[in-house]
Symmetry: C2
Subunit: 451 residues, 2 copies
């Protein structure tokens, strides 16, 4: 174990936890979904424990499971803006889809959040290809897979131009001469393509971090390519150490292919965790969550995801044969992961529901702090990751357990920092502040003028 | 003076004040434009003084004046979300344009802000027809005037459907039976027109206020019609008591025409103010601001607004003849107001610059707390308004002066509350919580079933 290399821990936050019926536990606060106080409490616990980030998923439709499943969140960007005012050091990572937003608005929102938080913003870049989201935005269909990723790449590249449209020295604040900004150092972006036309410049100075940290979560071929080109914090679902090692090596080599430094890309698999003070307490908590399961909810969700009507098969019989992954347009990599898991573990439908209720395809684990730390250590030192996205199966209790029991154990082993390294999220993650593409051009221009 | 009727005071917030070169004053903090601490300080002063709202304007382009003029703000929605976490009672009104956003996103953002703030959100509904905003959103031109207002009305009506898509009793939180929500009380909105197609429902429960308070600021014919149909807090620029009285009577009568209660629509003209402890101190502050003026900035801004190249006329000569208002597509009512002011007061170009530098077309006034209170009282009791949008010409100093000197004077006269009446913005403004259009339908359905 190197004492220099320490793991990145992200707290994946929602209202009641990542086991899909954890809201039924006595300790859950399902009413808290709309209340700042619940999220504020959790953000402060996570910051006290030195988590690098609070990380929020998102969706632009209600979905169909609200009869039996708690709503997960408020709009993440609002929530993280509110939390920016009551936290000081923890990173704030919001998911925003490139499929249904405008580059000018999205670049501006993240610039604002980065300014407000003193350089703690992160953008989890996703594409939206599932469900009925398109119907909330006047489209007949969701974007097709390849088109989604083309749009995503161009969207992010355009956003970086907007963030760079103010050079770092553009602001003058010269009261005596009446010069607020040096307009020679503020640039139109003049982006024009078949997808986007944006003139710019942005109406805000460059964010403190240059760009917000760019997180990304696609694990498909297109997703890995996007990660390799623009991702800095890569969230992924991996069930086994071997799969995680392969993914890690794959993405890092793609990063090198694009001329980027592999150390500037941090890979963080999800880890859906239950922590007990003792092994038996952990098993009790696991059993309590298993008992909360509503089979109808699992059957409904899995039938949609696996494209098979599981309601017509016996709950304690085997999972029926699944379609060819090539036919799946919606989150294909997660489909493949589940198909592999079902086949290698020969799961019954009930067992499958129990497996995915707690992790939604992410790795699940229940144990003492020591056992949890062992697991995290073996992946971290085994070339499988640079850290984790911690998904407590029950919230807020599971975060409290992780912060109180697991974090000190990781710190004792030298695997996790005991204090934030810097003030910005980039500093805390060990990511460089990006150069400004317009400043480089200005330098060149000056060079030409001098020559 | 009635002791029952008290005025509504909104604090119009920006970074350095509403005199366009106030950032040059020694007390200004032009660096604060990107810093939460400046806005937090002002929001807390405003809340301490019992202002009903913090009110933020917006634009989706940089504009051309940043060489000489301070940036006004961060993105308002982000900023107010951050302020929601550090304030408790003051209303939070953000400007969002219906011309360049999506109804689903905008409805969701305001629902989130209303939830997070415990029912303190307001939406200042604007349309965007000026400048080069269209070029940041892939359009060749801005929307034409009538089209903008058609889109705005339908946008707001659609947003109300989305907020209503969850009935107030839709959430069950029934842990024992595993029932989180009653899906019979959550409704698709199925909105389809030539402009928008949105299926719904929203992915958040109905906001605490039902809807955020709907503020609106158009003073054109279309603007007044929109105000009368959906506005609740009407922000307007009025130079004279007579004009303000006429506008007030006009809008209230239009409100009645649409079957609404005129008391449910509050009209609040802008008031660009300088307060001094003495008359001479007020005059000194006014002179200090006048000396900060950069004529080039005023000439540039006014030439664009008035559609005349003022650079080609002598600064101390008369304002040349202006075009027919009918030819103006961009903020025509403000154009008419300025044209009337120029003609009735026979202003030179320099005088015009001095007049608009401090108010941008809104009424300007400098004086002691007593004189300011006299002015506000005469308009309020004279049938010209229900309150004001206070635009301190210099910030943060002008807010401090107003809170320390004018607010106690208004309270002494019984014209302004000494404590917030309720916890939500609607309660504080005396606005009813709107009925849910889907609940009414549910009731009807039940009635039919029983019959």
């Amino acid at each position: 174990m190197s004492t220099n290399r320490q793991m990145i821990l992200n707290f994946f936050m929602n209202s009641t936890g990542f086991h899909e019926t954890a809201w039924r536990l006595p300790s859950a606060e399902p009413e808290g979904v709309t209340s700042l106080s619940l999220y504020k409490k959790m953000a402060l616990i996570a910051e006290q424990a030195k988590f690098h980030t609070v990380f929020l998923a998102d969706a632009y439709e209600l979905g169909e499971n609200v009869k039996h499943q708690a709503l997960n969140r408020l709009e993440p960007y609002t929530l993280l803006s509110a939390l920016a005012g009551v936290t000081e050091r923890i990173g704030l990572v919001a998911t925003v889809s490139t499929s249904y937003t405008e580059p000018y608005h999205t670049a501006r929102l993240f610039a604002s959040l980065d300014h407000l938080s003193g350089g703690r913003a992160g953008w989890n870049i996703v594409t939206t290809g599932i469900g009925k989201t398109h119907l909330n935005f006047g489209r007949e269909q969701n974007y097709e897979h390849t088109e989604r990723y083309q749009r995503a790449l161009e969207f992010v590249q355009l956003a970086t131009k907007l963030w760079d449209s103010w050079e770092d020295d553009a602001l003058l604040f010269d009261k005596a001469r009446g010069l607020y900004a040096d307009v020679e150092h503020i640039h139109a972006v003049r982006h024009r393509s078949d997808i986007f036309a944006v003139e710019g410049p942005l109406n805000l100075p460059r964010p403190p971090q240059g760009y917000p940290v760019l997180a990304q979560a696609g694990s498909s071929e297109d997703g890995k390519e996007l990660a390799a080109r623009i991702g800095e914090l890569i969230y992924t679902a991996q069930q086994t150490l071997a799969d995680a090692q392969a993914f890690y090596a794959d993405v890092k080599s793609r990063v090198e292919k694009y001329g980027r430094n592999p150390n500037e890309v941090k890979i963080v698999p999800g880890f859906s965790v239950i922590v007990g003070a003792t092994e038996s307490e952990a098993k009790e908590k696991e059993a309590e969550l298993r008992e909360s399961i509503i089979p109808e909810l699992g059957l409904h969700r899995l039938s949609k995801r696996l494209k098979v009507d599981l309601f017509s098969y016996p709950l304690d019989g085997p999972v029926p044969e699944l379609p060819d992954p090539a036919t799946i347009n919606e989150n294909r990599s997660r489909f493949e992961l589940m198909k592999n898991m079902i086949e290698s573990e020969k799961l019954t439908i009930r067992q499958l529901i129990e497996r995915v209720s707690g992790g939604n395809g992410h790795r699940t684990f229940a144990g003492t702090a020591e056992k949890v730390a062992d697991e995290l250590e073996s992946w971290f030192t085994g070339g499988a990751c640079d850290g984790f996205v911690i998904r407590p199966q029950a919230l807020p209790s599971g975060l409290e357990d992780f912060a109180r029991l697991v974090v000190p154990e990781l710190q004792r082993r030298g695997l996790f920092h005991t204090e934030y390294r810097g003030t910005t999220l980039r500093e805390n993650l060990g990511l460089a502040r990006p150069n400004n593409q317009f400043s480089a051009q200005s330098q060149q221009r000056k060079g030409v003028q001098l020559a």
